[in-house]
């Protein structure tokens, strides 16, 4: 979809919304929050919104519109927001009044102390047809207290995420989705947490990704390298492309991932990097081999980044295959990172023993066993416990592995997941490990009760 089409979508919203609002106001009883406002007030407020929307840039410069921020999710920004909550009076509203006013007020009251706001959100979604578009419009207007704007964002994000959605929720869902992502990419403050919902939303797809690629190619200077805007743009493109590989990978995406992997344009190589983990995980053996060959032709740093992407996206069905294909590379690069722990965590349903002993128990595979054991550190759950089979495998490794370094590592893992089991049993395990006294002292210090 081109920018022109996108603008057309917005135009449709803008033309249809005032008419729509007028009709709705005739049939839907409105709960005024603070006295009555005559329609001319409402019209004047609405004109303020409509006027600058001919050009999006104008929208962004108006003082009443959301403030632009450089980075998303920084501590200083969060702190600033919190300060503004304390400084402003959240009960004083300058939000445009309409059928949404009362349900929004109820959402704000409940949301101050509870997450159970499904009923309040439902009331908002039922207050008028096309409320999804209206929520977007209200948020863009930038009026209202911080809590009102946060409530609007929660409602908008929820509306975009709903699948199935109420039949009359949207007039132009696609147009709103595209517009919202554009404002998120631009870095507008009121949209900065929209990515909590965006990437699971229906409609974030390849078509959308290519619309953003088109926008980038038409004016790359708008996306300075290494800027927050560039990285958010890239994220949107990657998420759109990845969504195309949810069930199986379309052939065009395989082909482009292969081509972009070797592109001379570093930006396209970065996009390929972001997509390839998902593509690899979902592809057949031949396609995986092709992709692996391309990856291994790149420079070492890029190979390592690609390897991490594979680990991030590896599903448990392909876990053993990925380990087989990539363990030697990771061991050579001395890589033991968070992505590896995440991959092992997702594979908790798979028995650890066969993976650990896949290359035998001799000295030639010691580095492999050490690497797998480090990955197994990711196998603990929220309570700090390993799956039963993993714990059994770890204890067996402590008792029987030929290499002291492997036994020591396995015993440290056992200590981390020992929890409430008896010290006498752990003492016996330590004895069987046949470690040196320094190592023995060390493993005792890792027991949670120590």
């Amino acid at each position: 979809m081109s920018r022109l089409q996108s603008s057309k979508s917005r135009l449709v919203i803008l033309i249809s919304l005032p008419i729509f609002l007028m009709l709705v106001s005739l049939v839907v009883p409105i709960n005024w929050q603070r006295g009555n406002a005559d329609t001319s007030d409402l019209d004047r407020q609405y004109e303020k919104v409509v006027a600058p929307l001919d050009g999006q840039k104008e929208v962004k410069t108006g003082s009443e519109f959301p403030q632009k921020v450089d980075a998303v999710g920084t501590e200083s920004e969060a702190a600033r927001l919190d300060q503004s909550v304390e400084a402003g009076d959240p009960t004083i509203s300058s939000l445009r009044i309409g059928p949404w006013t009362e349900p929004l007020r109820r959402l704000i009251e409940k949301g101050k102390y509870s997450s159970e706001v499904a009923a309040e959100l439902t009331a908002i979604f039922e207050c008028q047809p096309g409320i999804g578009d209206q929520l977007m419009q209200l948020l863009v207007e930038g009026q209202g207290s911080l809590l009102e704007r946060r409530a609007l964002l929660v409602a908008l994000g929820t509306a975009l995420s709903m699948d199935p959605a109420p039949p009359e929720l949207w007039l132009d869902r696609r147009g709103v989705l595209e517009w919202a992502i554009e404002l998120w990419i631009e870095g507008f403050e009121d949209f900065k947490q929209l990515d909590r919902w965006l990437w699971k939303s229906r409609g974030v797809d390849g078509l959308l990704a290519f619309a953003f690629v088109d926008e980038f190619l038409s004016d790359p200077d708008q996306y300075p390298p290494d800027s927050g805007k560039r990285s958010r743009w890239r994220k949107a493109v990657i998420e759109g492309l990845k969504a195309e590989a949810e069930d199986e990978v379309p052939s065009w995406l395989k082909q482009w991932t292969l081509e972009w992997t070797e592109s001379e344009d570093p930006e396209f190589r970065r996009i390929a990097l972001g997509v390839m983990g998902k593509v690899y995980s979902k592809s057949a053996a031949d396609d995986r081999r092709h992709l692996r060959e391309r990856i291994l032709r790149q420079d070492l740093q890029w190979q390592l980044e690609a390897g991490k992407e594979l680990l991030i996206h590896t599903e448990k069905d392909h876990f053993v295959t990925v380990i087989d294909d990539w363990a030697d590379f990771f061991i050579r690069q001395e890589y033991r990172g968070s992505e590896m722990l995440s991959a092992f965590h997702r594979a908790r349903d798979i028995p650890l023993g066969p993976i650990l002993n896949r290359r035998g128990g001799g000295p030639e595979s010691q580095a492999y066993r050490m690497w797998v054991l480090f990955g197994a550190l990711g196998g603990r759950d929220e309570a700090g416990l390993y799956p039963t089979e993993w714990m059994t495998t770890l204890e067996e490794t402590v008792r029987s592995d030929q290499a002291r370094a492997v036994r020591f590592l396995a015993l440290r893992l056992c200590a981390m997941g020992w929890k409430d089991r008896s010290n006498a049993d752990f003492q016996e395990l330590v004895r069987r490990a046949e470690l040196d006294p320094v190592q023995e002292n060390h493993v005792w210090s890792l027991l949670p009760t120590s």
Binding site: G73, L81, M162, S338, L446
Partner: protein, 184 residues
């Protein structure tokens, strides 16, 4: 090496730097951890034939930056993640949480031995790899947690040790030889 320099290394999906940027761990909280990281002790003798007392062995060092690994499981920070069931339409909506991992494992900056002409090894130190548990505190709640602090919980524990090597130009090689390749 300064903490900024260590941060520039980056590259890990949830690097400590990004955790700081995202407010997962504050810089001041990290200073305590750094005190532990920088704890070092003599790591024993240099193997025969490698030290500066011997004929020039051609061994220098390469610097490994601070590295951090985070748990794949996040802290159950208050009211995250939020799951809403909009019953009327049978739609379920998830609000993915911002991460505050259960723990972070920090490997200190250290130099490892590499072949390097006109260089020898002067000293070996032992540096601790530590695991620091983290806890999450919601600092701004409205329907869900909009911002939170991810703070150290309890004392860090030693997970293992790594050797840190110090190298020097061999006698007569001249002071201009860079044996450390950026070793702090």
């Amino acid at each position: 090496m300064s903490f900024d320099q260590q941060c520039r290394h980056g590259g890990v999906v949830l690097s400590l730097c990004s955790m700081i940027l995202l407010g997962v761990v504050s810089t001041c909280d990290l200073q305590a951890a750094h005190g532990v990281i920088r704890n070092q002790s003599p790591g024993g003798d240099i193997p025969p034939g490698m030290s500066c007392q011997d004929e020039c062995p051609g061994l220098g060092t390469r610097n490994n930056d601070l590295k951090q690994v985070v748990s794949p499981v996040s802290n159950p920070c208050s009211d995250m993640p939020l799951k809403l069931l909009l019953e009327r339409w049978g739609a379920t909506v998830n609000f993915p949480e911002r991460q505050c991992p259960l723990w972070v494992m920090l490997t200190p900056t250290h130099s490892v031995v590499v072949p390097r002409q006109d260089c020898c090894l002067l000293e070996r130190q032992s540096r601790d790899v530590i695991q620091q548990k983290l806890r999450c505190e919601c600092t701004s709640f409205f329907i869900f947690c909009w911002s939170r602090s991810c703070l150290p919980a309890g004392e860090p524990i030693k997970w293992e040790s790594v050797d840190h090597w110090v190298s020097l130009p061999c006698l007569g090689s001249g002071a201009a030889v860079d044996c450390g390749g950026g070793t702090p």
